[in-house]
Amino acid sequence: MTLPSVLGPPARLLRRRIGTARRDTAFLAAGVLPHLAAVPAWLWLGAKPVVRSVHLPWGVLPGLFAVLLLLPLVALPLTAVQRWRYAELLAVDIPRSLPAEGPRLRRALRLLVSAETWRRTAYHTLLGPFLAVAEVLVLAVWGTGVACATIYGWMWAMPAHTDAADVYAVQAAYVTAIGLLLLAAAPWFAGTVTRAESRAARALLGPSRAQRLERRVTDLSVSRADLADAADAERRRIERDLHDGTQQRLVSLAVTLGLARATLKDLPEEARRIIDEAHREAKEAISELNDLVRGLHPAVLDDRGLDAALSGLAARVPLPVRLHVDLDGRPAPAVESVAYFVVSEALANVTKHARAGRVEVTVRRTGRVVRVEVTDDGVGGADAAAGTGLTGLAGRVRAVDGTFRIDSPVGGPTTLVAELPCGR
């Protein structure tokens, strides 16, 4: 038992101790019967056939076989009882195992041979009786403690049988002291047994570490895919909003200013200059907004797929681009989106840093992988760790379980490859 680092008001501390002790004791008391329950089952199911079969030609084997088959069946309801006991009385959750898949018979067979089933069986049939003994001991310490500590009460209540009251009175003082000691030790004892039981139950009744990790990996991949999808949907929504609202409005503003410029010929020079400027600004805003939308998630990608979207992208690069898109049907939207983003970032990088003469973009599906490759004949030396663009790229590729690598020796050429799994 550890000393609390900060001693609260003694009364509250005491109350908390009593509460914990009561909870532990109730928990342990409720465990005695379920922990003993496996013993008669064990005896009835196992021992009888084993004893009976000893004289048979095959020896004890059939009996042992019966035990092996039937004990896991006993473990099932007992595990449910234990799970209830831990949840209700101790607020400890023993996680269930992952639901098995497949037809019923195979599921049952798999359950029978699983390590998990045998860990549970071991808990109930081997460890259970010992735990029951420990639980009974805790209860005995409480009972003895109470009985001893209140010995004066008993003596007072039943005085008739004592003829040497003085002698007993002295001995009774020892008994009282022992009783108080036992009462003081009982919460510690109950707590220790409770903790040991919890550890054993988590290790033997709950899913194994491998299973827990498996479940965690499944959960994480699902939630990561959800996140990627949500981000994608959000980008699409923003694109739509910008396209249907702001872009239309800006174009119409630019048209109005253009009309003013074209029709109001007799304005003073100053006014014409201002209109000219506003017109130019509006047009620049349109192309900036177009660039922004293109970087987010261009409408053409949804409407016409990767090939069309990448053509639009490549046409904007101020150097010769050769584009090969060889896809059999359209990959999942998330994959299209990432592939588009990879090419977009790669081309932006080439334009900015590579001083390249030409770029080659290849998007090809091989089996279940879409492979995106961007090669340029520039100066090389691109570092995935240095530029935020490339780092963000790697992150987005990994979010769909893809791989990303860049090969860029100083002096070039640079090759960037992203491989995106696409399910089908």
């Binding site: 396209h243 872009q247 239309q248 409005r249 174009v251 119409s252 630019a254 048209v255 109005t256 200013l257 253009g258 009309l259 410029r261 074209a262 029709t263 017109h279 509006a282 047009k283 349109i286 192309s287 177009n290 261009p298 409408a299 053409v300 409407d303 016409r304 090939d307 069309a308 053509s311 639009g312 490549a314 046409a315 904007r316 010769p320 681009v321 050769r322 584009l323 090969h324």
Partner: protein
């Protein structure tokens, strides 16, 4: 000359009406979807239809399909498509049947009112107009094709041809002489294996070859 306009954004529609009026058109009808457009063309028999690609109900390529059906049913009606982004296949679809009286431009070009008005007039008079973006996109195709054999200057000239410019306009644009442009064009014809038959026809074929490199 009479025009009809199909554009679902009311704001932009008002602007388009005024731009076309500036260009000397009488706007017979302004509608918001493809079905109303076909009805208006049937009733008005305009010289020009100015059509947004994305329109209700599907907001995908309703405008292109309406344009194709107008070209089929009323071949005399010139068609100019406006699009938010370049989709070369739309251009190819439009130009495969007949390249005269066809235009495909990005929406934002409308803002340059005078240039846009000139383009629309040219298309209404039987010309062709492709957005420089479309042309740029068509030029980056693809594996081995005869266009690869063109020099950058010849590509530039071909791109301007695809936009429907005359030799004189191309010469002015590139700041070269008319005879230099004619020489480039002859080189283009030679490299694209277009025999010297009908000069105007070869011009259209060159532009089509240019578009043919896209996958239909």
């Amino acid at each position: 000359m009479r025009a009809v306009i199909a554009e679902d954004s009311v704001l932009l529609r008002v602007g388009l009406v005024r731009v076309l009026q500036t260009a000397g058109f009488e706007v017979g009808a302004e509608v918001g979807d493809a079905e109303a457009l076909l009805a208006a063309v049937e009733e008005q028999r305009p010289d020009l239809a100015l059509i947004d690609v994305r329109m209700p109900p599907g907001f995908s390529d309703e405008g292109v399909r309406a344009a194709l059906s107008i070209r089929r049913r009323w071949p005399g009606t010139a068609v100019v498509l406006l699009s938010q982004y370049v989709e070369e296949r739309y251009a190819a679809d439009l130009l495969t049947a007949d390249t005269s009286g066809v235009g495909y431009l990005l929406k934002q070009r409308v803002a340059d009112v005078e240039e846009f008005a000139a383009t629309v007039r040219r298309v209404a008079a039987g010309g062709t107009a492709l957005d420089p973006q479309v042309v740029a996109q068509l030029l980056l195709r693809r594996d081995s094709d005869p266009l690869e054999r063109l020099t950058p200057r010849e590509r530039e000239v071909l791109a301007l041809m695809a936009e429907g410019r005359s030799n004189a306009a191309i010469a002015e644009d590139l700041v070269v002489t008319d005879s230099a442009v004619a020489k480039h064009i002859n080189n283009i014809f030679a490299k694209l294996d277009l025999p010297p038959a009908d000069g105007h026809h070869r011009r259209v074929l060159a532009v089509l070859r240019f578009l043919g490199t896209t996958r239909a």
